[in-house]
Symmetry: C2
Subunit: 219 residues, 2 copies
């Protein structure tokens, strides 16, 4: 598949590299066509990797992975251009982290709204699926790094798109029983609200290489 990855930071590069390793063609999108980090990534990643503006990448990709920082997500997606996301699956990994009010960060959208909903509202014809936003990027692309099963949530308004994203995640190494489908995109209010806890567990344990598992009583 041809896939656009928005965002040249650690998350974008981890996702893009994983997708190339699975045989997909990936265009890493950023503000400018000459982004140094994107160019360096293409050089080390090989023939299936390319780079360009958000608009170039969106045009190229059948799907779009949004791995931009939350504070810039809506603006970055808008730079894809009018209609560029229409009908496409937009896998949204962003979090509405607000670093302007001290550490640990708070959220600039929360409780009765979420960034996942804001993305879907802004691009009503995109099929937004929120997932992978509740963990460190090393675990997103290598879930078997952890010595036990653990959970990754999906939500979005299009059930078919959620199912397709689930299949792609399985190719990353996620087990079917680890992928918890919560339903429509308003559930991003739940998954994004892990962040205020995540940053504090990270603070207490001094390691980001963890994720949560749901332990249920035996029926």
């Amino acid at each position: 598949m041809k896939i656009a990855v928005f965002g040249t930071g650690d998350v974008g590069q981890a996702i893009a590299t994983k997708l190339v390793s699975l045989g997909h063609e990936v265009r890493l999108g950023s503000r400018t066509a000459t982004n140094e980090k994107a160019k360096a990534w293409v050089e080390k990643t090989g023939a299936k990797a390319s780079t360009g503006t958000y608009a170039d990448a969106a045009k190229f990709g059948e799907w779009v992975f949004n791995c931009t920082l939350g504070a810039g997500t809506i603006e970055a997606l808008k730079m894809a251009g009018e209609g560029a996301l229409d009908g496409k699956i937009v896998v949204d990994l962003s979090n509405p982290l607000d670093f302007t009010k001290g550490m640990p960060p708070s959220l600039f959208l929360s409780n009765t709204d979420s960034l996942g909903e804001a993305v879907q509202r802004t691009f009503p014809k995109a099929k937004v699926v929120k997932t992978l936003n509740t963990m460190w990027n090393g675990i997103m692309v290598n879930p078997r790094l952890l010595p036990d099963t653990h959970v990754n949530y999906l939500c979005g308004n299009d059930a078919g798109a959620r199912g397709q994203v689930k299949e792609l995640l399985k190719s990353f190494g996620w087990k079917d029983e680890e992928l918890l489908d919560l339903g429509d995109i308003t559930n991003a209010r739940g998954t994004e609200s892990i962040l205020p806890l995540w940053v504090r567990v990270y603070g207490a344990t001094k390691s980001g290489a963890f994720n949560f598992k749901i332990v249920a009583a035996k029926g």
Copy 2:
């Protein structure tokens, strides 16, 4: 120990019954001295159980467990009377759940504040320790109900009080490695923010008999 438990609902009764079973004397507090639920609980629980107003219970207890509904927590604690909580450990299990804006509930305090902080602010001389607020009450008092280890967070400004609460929780069946001390009471912003996710996992799995485990990469 003599312990006050505020709140006659499922959480208060579960905590109060557990404490009595461990040999503590418990006074269940509510708005009135003639609360029917409290009287029925005393009848079935025996000699170590008693009931009274919030003020009666606070006077009786060396510690106070706050198991009231979040929306009424500050008011209930105020009914204990001027200075009644001073110097005492107040174990706060409440959550700022707001059911007025539709289901699942949102939070009436969140992100840059928390109910744990509000309790501590309102009663600056109490030693507030927030814990057990992230799970169903059946698991609070019987953590071994689940077939794996799982996590319970503690936070509060008094490290000694956090340590004393940890010891009491171990008598409930919690293992030392399951009790994650996050530090001061501002960390309640993190643990209370699990609720928006908890209610959605409950919605998706149709069972409240679960908790989260932190799965970490092996060092």
